[in-house]
Amino acid sequence: MTTVTNKNNKRLEILKTYKIYIDGQFVRTESGRYYIATNSKKENLANVCLGSRKDFRDAVVAARNAFGSWSTRAAFNRAQILYRIAEMLEGRKAQFIDELIKQDSTKTQAEKEVNLCIDRLIYYSGWCDKFQQLFSSVNPVASPHFNFSVPEPMGVIAAIAPQNNSLLGLVSVIAPIIAGGNSCIVLASATMPLCAVTFAEVLNSSDLPGGVVNILTGKVAELVSYFSDHMDVNATVYCEADFATQKMIKEKSALNIKRVLLYNKIKWTDASGQSPYFIMDLQEIKTTWHPIENIGGAKAGY
């Protein structure tokens, strides 16, 4: 057996192709375009797919198809799958730390970030089958009805992950979306995309059905308008403070009355970066009126 070496007689490393993740498959962008991700030392880290609107369109179709069975699956099972994602992440910690260091983190920062991500997934795993009880209610009504309200997932969520952060922002945005039974398309950080693609590999080996999470790489400016005007998307999540873009998202989202969530003031590293209210942001409250007039148990003397 021979090893391929360079002129200094060192083994040539096999470099990973960073692909996008649509419908449980690692695909190249339909557009065939790519860009080079660099770090602050101007080192080339990888050729990364420059995703197009057609990639986004395909991802929405995948997310819509996946939504049905994901949203109706037992909440407990969703919890198990989120826990499994955390387990897989724990097992591949070294790779994530390595990628974070390449993208300008120090070793301590990188370790801290990956640990926080794992803990955050466990946190939302716990909430999967509990937030419904916290936010549901039985309502007093002046008619013979049993009236109750429960949260239900909205559907397909298009999210633009925090751009100044490689992994924690991405995980913090995805976890509450899927914990609540939604499916999503997430645009990773354009400047630090490595961990996003590797995180897709973690998702792929975690019993998460294909299409529930779709991860794209590319430029926010190019894709943001499609994220906000696609009629088959139910909500848009945006994490930057750029006012003009926020305004554009709000205007375009009005087309089909998408919910718009602006997370530019959230500190993802804090405890305030996780809460069941992030799950509730992407839930709709459904109220049911159930007639009880003729049920024996509803009358006195039962």
Partner: protein
């Protein structure tokens, strides 16, 4: 009626080049169709649809709703064509006919113990006559696949001829159910038998069996139509049915039609799509072309 002198001997095997057919049909999917061409193609495809409901659970209301849809495909988009026809069971013909009055949309009825075709000839003829008497403009019959596979080609031929006679003025579509014939050779042979026996259309499938219409199978049938035309001078129409649910695929079929039979066949008199979900997909594509915004199925009527 075609002179019996030119009817070929159906016992002789046809020779379909399987590799050639598959390669050729995959080529049609590689054409780039954009902008106005795409728009015109989509409009044409929409106008070629036989909007179909063939379920045991069909009700009067369901048929009326489908007829309404045939005329009002998507009223927020002005200038849309209607579909070509509504395709229903014989018991629903009367209701469909009434609902479509004056719209120009035709009523097609399946008949002859659809979808199995396992009934006596007498029953099949009565089934056909019932549909025609209630106003069906077109009759979609199924061939006796069992007899065909046993090699009783004369039985199949005579049956088609008898149904054609029962149709009167209604145009006859002959469903080969290619999913049960399996090979290209058998599809070609069945196409020839149907055309020589008097079919106005040849149609791939009932939609009840998988695989339904595929591009290679359709190409074999289109080539049979072409050869028949060269031999007899008579044009036969084509209807692929089942499994065509996306606009892009419909455009591929139109490319295949144009490059095999030519522009003379590019209208709903000579080509149909048997489909139910295709209409909404085309409408969503048309709205996308018009507005630049990707659409959501919830904003289109139920089909």
């Amino acid at each position: 009626m075609i002179s019996t002198k030119i009817i070929p001997d159906f016992l002789l095997p046809p020779h379909i080049d399987q590799v050639g057919i598959e390669e050729r049909s995959s080529r049609f999917t590689k054409r780039s169709i954009k902008n106005e061409t795409k728009l015109n193609g989509l409009m044409l495809a929409l106008n070629m649809i036989d909007l179909t409901t063939l379920e045991g659970k069909d009700t009067d209301g369901k048929v009326k709703q489908l007829c309404y849809k045939a005329i009002h495909l998507h009223d927020v988009y002005p200038g849309l064509p209607t579909v070509a026809a509504i395709c229903v069971y014989p018991s629903m013909v009367k209701i469909a006919k009434k609902a479509l009055e004056g719209s120009g949309v035709k009523v097609a009825s399946v008949a002859t113990a659809f979808p199995s075709g396992q009934a006596t000839r007498d029953i099949k003829i009565r089934d056909t006559k019932y549909a025609v008497q209630h106003g069906a403009d077109e009759v979609d019959m199924v061939i006796s696949r069992g007899k065909f596979l046993q090699g009783e080609y004369n039985y199949v031929f005579d049956e088609i001829a008898a149904i054609k006679e029962a149709c009167g003025k209604a145009r006859l579509k002959v469903i080969l159910e290619t999913g049960e014939l399996v090979t290209y050779d058998k599809v070609r042979k069945a196409s020839d038998i149907a055309m020589y026996a008097g079919a106005d259309f040849i149609k791939t499938s009932t939609g009840k069996i998988s695989p339904a219409a595929t591009m290679p199978i359709t190409l074999v049938m289109l080539e049979a139509i072409r050869d028949f035309y060269y031999k007899t001078g008579k044009k036969i129409a084509m209807k692929p049915a089942g499994g065509i649910g996306k606009s892009k695929l419909a455009l591929h079929y139109l490319v295949m039609l144009n490059e095999t039979l030519g522009e003379d066949w590019m209208s709903n008199e000579w080509f149909r799509f048997g489909a139910s979900s295709l209409a909404n997909d085309i409408l969503m594509q048309l709205m996308k072309q018009k507005t630049g915004i990707y659409q959501n199925a919830n904003y289109f009527s139920i089909d």
